[in-house]
């Protein structure tokens, strides 16, 4: 059984290798249009076929797990929420690496949690790969692009199926690399490569903490295997330190306060990448790791309190920022931060089940929203909602799918978001955390703001007067051209397929709905949406964000966090760097150059003796010889 897991992880990896090496072979050198097209076609096959196989294997694994009896030996202590759904679990160790102190074991494991997330990852990755065929049709670098997506998927699957913290960390880091490569796909534009570097550096900042958290846990437990770590008897102080350090990595990868700034900038990448990062791979990893190590986090209540505060600030701030953005993708990016904060809040409130449920539904509807936004952008040729409007008649399929997505985002029944968000809010309502009132207030407020920004984006994009105009020339780096039609079929299919789970996945949790809190949050969401609708109704030409009044600029700039970071971190570092350069140029280089100049001027004195008279030299030689002889005789 473990070989299936190995295959699931390795298939996308093999796809990445094949796509990178084989797409242009054997005509690698010539970049004619026909060759580019042939390479893109071959790369698409290399990308889609293995991921489809991985999907089938994952589904098979899930069905096996659903039918298998729980085995006490290979499961975690305590009752997990997934035990009822997918009780079967398997674990296999490939090899042990003796490091001298704590051994590293190459262990993979598949249990209910990893299979659930694994299905999400593979489905979204497949949808993104198929979608990219249409979206990136004329991009000459499509082979490397799809290969990196495959590598990204493989890394996320490695994180999901890892049975050892070090193995998990390897996948974690490869994801960081892939996000850098993919966000900077259109690197010709300087802003895009800057965004890629920013994403890489900010997540790396968190990863440092994450690595040391792993070390702390591993050394305290005497093993890096997740089973051993969770069953080990670790003192509370160590546990708090370790989980706090892990939380830094979680904040970096899942874009939580204070490391959230990279995610909106990551919109510089192609839209399918945003869908992949936001729905399935990168940001889901942070929530997943907390759920994976949840028993350890439960033993460290202060960490959960910190997580609660971070989540409360993040969800409300990001939702307000989303309300004021004009770029459709940035609206969705801030909404991702906000929704991830919901999951973090669910975890902090003590319900990993609610958080993972929301992670799954969010993965479905956010991927749907991003792919739909990509189709809209493809159609309009601009990211800005100012250039959209009245699109519901010209792109009816995208409109219907995105309506489902927005409904799920707002939490309107019967879309999936309603059930999962209700689960999170009910968990917060019933938690005993000291931060509970704060968290609950923030969560309810955010529900209202979420309704408002989702409504605003929906209205601004699909309703009102059409502001679409054909752009004379697409700006460099964006391959979108206005063509006045619905997107190609390869883009519509993934959108349509993803709309199904976005609409129906919530019914998996229909039996556990807390109708009281669901009603409250539904009313709040409708209230937020209604306010926006009233403002929009008054003046359909104008942006409903004007209701924010003087706060609008602050929200649009995401409360000046980027500016603050620039002033507090970036500028002093730059100043320090300039100082170092000056020191290097003037002190170090100056010393070297000065040594040379000193030698030259000293040698000037010696050169005075070079008069060209050979007999003078011989005289000097003899005098020296005599001196040495006399010295040898006298001193020896």
């Amino acid at each position: 059984m473990i070989s299936v897991v190995v295959l699931i992880v390795l298939l996308p990896f093999a796809a990445a290798v094949a796509g990178l090496l084989g797409s242009r072979w054997p005509r690698g050198g010539s970049r004619t249009k026909e060759n580019d097209r042939a390479a893109a076609r071959r790369a698409a096959w290399f990308a889609i076929a293995p991921i489809t196989a991985a999907l089938l294997l994952t589904l098979w694994l899930a069905s096996w797990s659903a039918r298998a009896l729980p085995r006490g030996s290979a499961s975690y202590p305590g009752a997990e929420f997934w035990a009822g759904l997918l009780p079967g679990s398997t674990e296999g160790t490939l090899t042990m690496v003796e490091t001298g102190s704590v051994p590293i074991s190459f262990t993979l494991r598949a249990d209910g949690l990893s299979i659930l997330i694994g299905v999400l990852v593979v489905v979204v990755a497949l949808a993104v790969q198929v979608y990219s065929v249409g979206y990136m049709r004329d991009d000459p670098r499509h082979p490397s692009y799809s290969a990196f997506i495959s590598l990204f998927t493989s890394a996320m699957l490695l994180v999901v199926y890892a049975g050892d913290l070090i193995v998990l960390y390897a996948g974690w880091e490869i994801m960081g690399l892939c996000s850098y490569l993919l966000i900077g796909h259109w690197w010709e534009d300087r802003a895009n490569s800057r965004a890629a570097v920013k994403a890489f550096l900010v997540t790396r900042l968190g990863d440092v903490g994450f690595l040391f958290g792993i070390f702390t846990l591993g050394f305290a437990a005497g093993s890096f295997r997740i089973d051993d770590v969770l069953s080990a008897d670790i003192p509370r102080g160590t546990l708090i330190t370790a989980t706090m350090l892990l939380l830094a990595g979680v904040a970096g990868k899942s874009a939580q306060v204070p490391l959230q700034t990279w995610l909106p900038d990551a919109m510089a990448g192609p839209t399918p990448i945003s869908a992949l990062i936001h729905a399935a791979t990168m940001v889901a990893a942070g929530i997943f790791i907390v759920a994976r190590l949840y028993p350890a986090f439960l033993g460290a209540q202060p960490t959960l309190d910190v997580l609660a505060v971070v989540a409360a600030i993040g969800m409300l701030g990001a939702a307000l920022a989303a309300l004021a953005q004009d770029d459709l993708k940035r609206v969705l990016a801030y909404s991702t931060i906000s929704q991830l904060a919901y999951m973090a809040a669910g975890l902090a409130a003590g319900s990993d089940k609610a958080a993972i449920f929301h992670l799954l539904t969010h993965g479905a509807f956010k991927a749907l929203l991003f792919l739909g936004a990509g189709a809209v952008i493809h159609h309009v040729g601009s990211n800005l909602m100012t250039h959209m409007g009245g699109l519901r008649t010209s792109v009816p399929i995208t409109f219907a799918a995105m309506t489902v997505g927005f409904a799920a985002l707002m939490g309107l029944p019967p879309a999936s978001g309603f059930f999962s968000k209700d689960a999170v809010i009910a968990a917060i309502e019933h938690s005993h955390s000291p931060a509970q009132p704060f968290l609950y207030g923030a969560a309810l407020l955010t529900v209202g703001v979420t309704g408002a920004y989702a409504m605003r984006a929906w209205l601004r994009t699909f309703f009102g007067p059409a502001r679409v105009e054909a752009l004379p020339e697409p700006p460099p780096g964006t391959a979108h051209v206005f063509d006045g039609r619905e997107a190609p079929r390869s883009m519509l299919w993934p959108i349509g397929v993803l709309a199904v789970p976005a609409l129906l996945l919530g019914f998996a949790g229909v039996t556990e709905v807390d109708w009281g809190s669901a009603l409250v949050s539904l009313i709040v969401a409708l209230l937020g949406a209604g306010v926006v609708y009233a403002f929009w109704r008054g003046a359909p030409h104008q942006d409903p964000a004007r209701m924010l009044g003087p706060f609008r600029t602050a929200c649009e700039r995401a409360f000046y966090v980027d500016e603050a970071y620039r002033a507090v971190f970036a500028r002093p570092v730059l100043r320090l760097a300039r100082g170092v350069v000056r020191t290097d140029g003037q002190v170090v280089d100056g010393a070297v150059r000065g040594a040379g100049r000193l030698t030259m001027s000293l040698s000037g004195f010696v050169r005075l003796a070079q008069k060209g008279n050979a007999q003078l030299y011989v005289t000097g030689l003899l005098a020296g010889l005599l001196l040495i002889t006399v010295a040898a005789v006298v001193l020896g």
Partner: protein
């Protein structure tokens, strides 16, 4: 015969050679002085060889070597002197100071030697 006689003779010879090398201006005389020094050494070698009763006669063998090398050296030296004379019409060692440091010899420059055709060619050939 006591060792002191040949040693004194060779020391005198060597001193004459040193004086010649340091003080003579004619290149041929300088070469002759070098020969005197070499022969002083040869005398020493033979004398000590006899005095120490060396069974392998290392001193005498070495003398033969020195004589051979001296012959080669004087051949080479005279050829150089001949070539210099053809170029400059002079074999005055004091005046052959083209390799001097130009800046350093500025204050006590030697009188300009007569400029020959060969010298011009020589100067141009220099990089």
């Amino acid at each position: 015969m006591h060792i002191v006689y040949p040693v004194v003779v060779s020391a005198l010879l060597f001193s004459i050679g040193v004086y010649g090398v340091l003080a003579r201006r004619n290149a041929i005389l300088v070469l002759m002085s070098v020969e005197l020094m070499l022969n002083a050494v040869n005398l020493n070698l033979v004398a000590f060889d006899v005095w120490l009763r060396d069974r392998l006669h290392g001193g005498q063998v070495l003398t033969l070597f020195v004589i051979v090398i001296a012959a080669a050296e004087i051949g080479l030296g005279l050829a150089i002197v001949l070539a210099v004379y053809r170029n400059r019409q002079s074999i005055d060692v004091d005046r052959l100071r083209d390799l001097s440091e130009t800046g350093a010899s500025g204050e006590a420059g030697p009188p300009e030697e007569p400029v020959g055709v060969g010298e011009d060619a020589d100067r141009e050939a220099r990089p």
